[in-house]
């Protein structure tokens, strides 16, 4: 009895001494300072100025060097960053921001409102494609009445502004570095000065970018790591190998086939998100060219939708990493996503009935033949082409398989982005295609361009279907002007109900990224470009 008591006491004593000796740094909950984080990225960014491009590669590599006026939380809602507070005036035609005090650029120069004014007027509105396309026509001006105040004035109420001010959509760059120069060739692009948690260390082209801790960062205590290295590894499978081999700590994208392997391994942690520095909240969308005779007929489009089993797309192409699209707007924008809509369900028998009803008859093997289809000569085969990027070949193959089963012939055409865009949007030379339409942080940014009739034109990744519905146009215009979120929710819900009825597109799957990192590191924020702001690693 005494011996057992002594043993227990010894163990307790030992534990007490152990935790005392290890100090707070090794405690299970507290962050650990120091160390170098190694992150894998897929391609060489080319330069490190995220304000002049929407390229995912540049943003992934450089956003840790900068900040936006606002940041984003896990739900995608705006939180203070360079701006500590804001007011919306005149129903959303004027936005007034109060900037934080004491923020400095990496070279010691104080950050002021003139930096914001300069960045928007001279850089973002000229070079950043999303800012330019969404705000460009509607922004009347940006004013900096004093060093800590910025005022945005719009020609009419502009609802989405607060979702477009993070480091991905509107990173703020230094006026004293860029003023009077050409932002695209300024040498600061490879020797950047920002306000972000990390400062620039070195950039070895083709290999890596080294960042060091910013000791003067305006968020006290952050960042924890001493340094961060972005290693360029183009092949995702090799990235996983590097993660397993201990050469890399964090991956932006875990490839589908290897997910179960990594998720099941206790040495690693994962997190899913719809956010991506090149384009967020994306839905793989099949577009129908409504100007083509075969697809003009709604019942044919309905038949296509019912012939496709979207669950197989999710399981075989994405390996379960994503969701079947339940509505035209991504579920990653919860306030705009219309839950509970009745999307077409996979039903081959029903699809065949619809096609028969239109006049497309099954005659022997192969695609159906037209017999009494209005607007189409008898004897024509039911065959459509399907255009896609090389990376989306699997989507094409599944579509071909599944539509073939109901007698719709599909001819696949692979086109590189630079050729795809003019073929689809300028020449409109296609029957159907698949596009990764990214909704962006706000539907105004990525959804409007798909349905509004004013967006039919040569600019790429706009209204591919050539959908024209005055009611939908009016709803979008109203949503863009209403600042109240509830009101916008209701408007977007109405739009989605109409879209599901009209089927100008068929929304296949929502794609997400799964980030992965070693379990001894934590504090990563998967939903933003400032992902490593609060990250640390235990030994």
């Amino acid at each position: 009895m005494r011996r057992r008591l002594m043993t227990v006491l010894a163990v307790l004593l030992f534990q007490a001494v152990w935790s005392a000796a290890s100090g707070p740094a090794a405690g299970q909950d507290g962050p650990v300072r120091g160390g170098t984080l190694v992150v894998a990225i897929v391609s060489d960014p080319g330069h490190l100025n995220p304000a002049i491009t929407t390229s995912g590669a540049t943003h992934a590599a450089s956003e840790l060097l900068y900040n936006g006026l606002l940041g984003r939380d896990e739900r995608g809602d705006p939180v203070p960053e360079l701006a500590e507070s804001w007011q919306v005036e005149q129903d959303g035609a004027v936005y007034r921001f109060r900037l934080r005090d004491g923020v400095k650029w990496h070279d010691g120069t104080p950050f002021t409102a003139s930096d914001v004014k300069f960045t928007f007027e001279e850089v973002l509105l000229k070079f950043h494609a999303r800012t330019r396309a969404s705000m460009g026509g509607l922004l009347a001006g940006v004013e900096a009445p004093d060093d800590r105040t910025v005022v945005f004035r719009f020609k009419q109420p502009y609802a989405p502004l607060l979702y477009q001010l993070d480091a991905t959509e509107a990173p703020i760059i230094a006026r004293h570095v860029y003023q009077g120069t050409d932002p695209q060739t300024n040498p600061a692009n490879i020797n950047p000065i920002g306000t972000g948690p990390f400062k620039f260390g070195s950039y070895t082209k083709g290999t890596e970018i080294r960042l060091v801790r910013n000791p003067a960062y305006f968020k006290p205590g952050l960042p924890y790591a001493d340094g961060l290295v972005m290693r360029i590894i183009p092949d995702l499978s090799v990235q996983v190998l590097a993660l397993e081999n201990g050469e890399v700590d964090f991956l932006w994208e875990l490839p589908g086939p290897l997910q179960s392997r990594i998720k099941g391994d206790s040495r690693f942690q994962t997190a899913r998100t719809g956010y991506h520095p090149g384009g967020s909240n994306c839905i793989m969308t099949m577009s129908f060219n409504l100007e083509r005779p075969i697809l003009k007929e709604l019942r044919v489009r309905q038949a296509v939708a019912q012939a496709l089993d979207r669950q197989t797309f999710l399981s075989q192409i994405l390996f379960g990493d994503g969701k079947v699209a339940a509505a035209p707007i991504s579920s990653e924008i919860p306030w705009a996503h219309a839950a509970g809509l009745s999307m077409p369900r996979p039903d081959r028998a029903e699809a065949e009935k619809l096609l028969d009803g239109v006049g497309w008859k099954k005659e022997g093997d192969g695609p159906r033949t037209a017999r009494g289809v209005s607007g189409i000569a008898d004897g024509t085969r039911l065959s459509i082409d399907f255009l896609h990027f090389p990376t989306f070949t699997k989507y094409g193959e599944l579509v071909r398989q599944q539509l073939g089963a109901v007698g719709i012939g599909v001819v696949l055409k692979t086109l590189e982005p630079a050729v795809f865009a003019p073929t689809v949007f300028k020449d409109r030379n296609f029957d159907s295609n698949v596009i990764s339409y990214c909704n962006g942080p706000d539907p105004e940014i990525g959804v409007r361009r798909m349905y509004h009739s004013s967006q039919i034109g040569p600019a790429p990744f706009t209204n591919a279907a050539a959908y024209r519905n005055p009611r939908v146009d009016a709803l979008f215009d109203e949503a863009s002007r209403s600042v109240e979120r509830d009101r916008r929710s209701r408007l977007y819900r109405q739009i989605q109900e109409i879209a599901v009825q009209d089927l100008p597109y068929f929304w296949l799957v929502e794609t997400v990224s799964t980030r992965a990192w070693v379990a001894r590191c934590s504090g990563f924020k998967a939903w933003t470009g400032l992902f490593a702001e609060g990250a640390f690693c235990r030994r």
Partner: protein, 320 residues
């Protein structure tokens, strides 16, 4: 070495280079698609792309662009990269050393190994060695280099943990001085192995056949009869074989570079191979033009050096 011969060879080079320039330019600029979209991404409006096109001079007529390009090249200016915003010479220059390291090490390794293996295979009375060496060498050639690379990665690197799986240097702890050299060679080991494995077959077989032939000649038989050690006999015979071997190595320069592209992609080696692929996707015309020119020049140079070495080694050529 008569300088007349040298000058003659050089004179052949110029029209070839000029022809390559024009060919390259035409291919790249006649390709379908809008480079502005590749450059600017997908989110812009029509005005944005017009702006980009004007900025990069892509809206000028083709002959005008060609003329501008040629005059610039003659001045040593290969243009400015669309994507990187810096001169093409600078961008390519940054990546060149890594590729040169990889290719030259593989060249040396495969040549030395090829000569050694070929000599081994050609020795008298070693039929088993001959057949097996030939088989292994041929297998190294027949297996696609990217496939071999992936097998090696999964098997050797991750399997044993002895080798890194990517890059040229350690990301976490950058080294300096001598440890830097060691680090680089540690990373170089697997890519070089895979690249060299592909090329060993050729040298091995050439040396083997040449040696077998040379060892059958009269003077060798006489040397053996006189009691000269086998090693020396082989060395003498080797000298006669070097001529075609050198020629072959030189003319294979192009294949080495292509193999390097595949190996660089598999092992994430930061060289020109990956720059080529990313520039193609981004339609970065100045880089593409510059790279193709550079590679062609490299091949021409290799051929030139080989011819000169040949001329130097073969007295018959010298006095023509």
């Amino acid at each position: 070495m008569p300088s007349r011969y040298l000058l003659r060879r050089l004179a052949h080079v110029l029209p070839t280079v000029a022809g390559l320039l024009v060919l390259n330019f035409c291919i790249i600029h006649l390709a379908p698609g809008d480079p502005a979209i590749a450059l600017g991404g997908e989110h812009g409006d029509a005005a944005y792309y017009t702006f980009l096109r004007a900025r990069f001079g892509l809206d000028r007529p083709l002959p005008e662009q060609l003329l501008t390009y040629i005059t610039n090249v003659l001045r040593g200016d290969l243009g400015t990269s669309f994507v990187h915003g810096r001169s093409v010479v600078a961008v390519i220059g940054e990546r060149l050393p890594a590729t040169l390291l990889l290719v030259s090490t593989a060249l040396v390794l495969s040549s030395v190994a090829g000569i050694g293996l070929g000599a081994l295979a050609a020795r008298d009375g070693r039929r088993a060695a001959d057949v097996s060496i030939n088989a292994v060498a041929l297998l190294g050639y027949a297996v696609p280099s990217f496939w071999l690379g992936q097998m090696v990665l999964v098997g050797l690197a991750v399997g044993t943990g002895l080798f890194p799986v990517q890059g040229m240097t350690d990301a976490r702890n950058p080294q300096t001085g001598f440890s830097y050299l060691l680090d680089v060679f540690h990373h170089l080991a697997l890519p070089v192995l895979v690249l060299a494995a592909n090329e060993v077959a050729l040298t091995t077989r050439l040396v083997r056949t040449g040696l077998i032939e040379a060892l059958g000649t009269d003077y060798v038989r006489a040397a053996r009869a006189k009691g000269l050690p086998e090693g020396m006999v082989i060395r003498h015979a080797l000298r006669n074989v070097m001529l075609p071997v050198i020629t072959v190595i030189g003319s294979r320069a192009g294949m080495f570079l292509s193999g390097a592209v595949l190996v660089e992609v598999v092992f994430a080696w930061p060289g020109l191979g990956r720059l080529l692929l990313s520039s193609l996707l981004a339609r970065d015309y100045p880089i593409l033009l510059g790279m193709f020119l550079l590679i062609s020049l490299g091949v021409i140079l290799a051929n030139l050096i080989t011819d000169l070495a040949y001329a130097w080694l073969d007295p018959r050529i010298r006095y023509q």
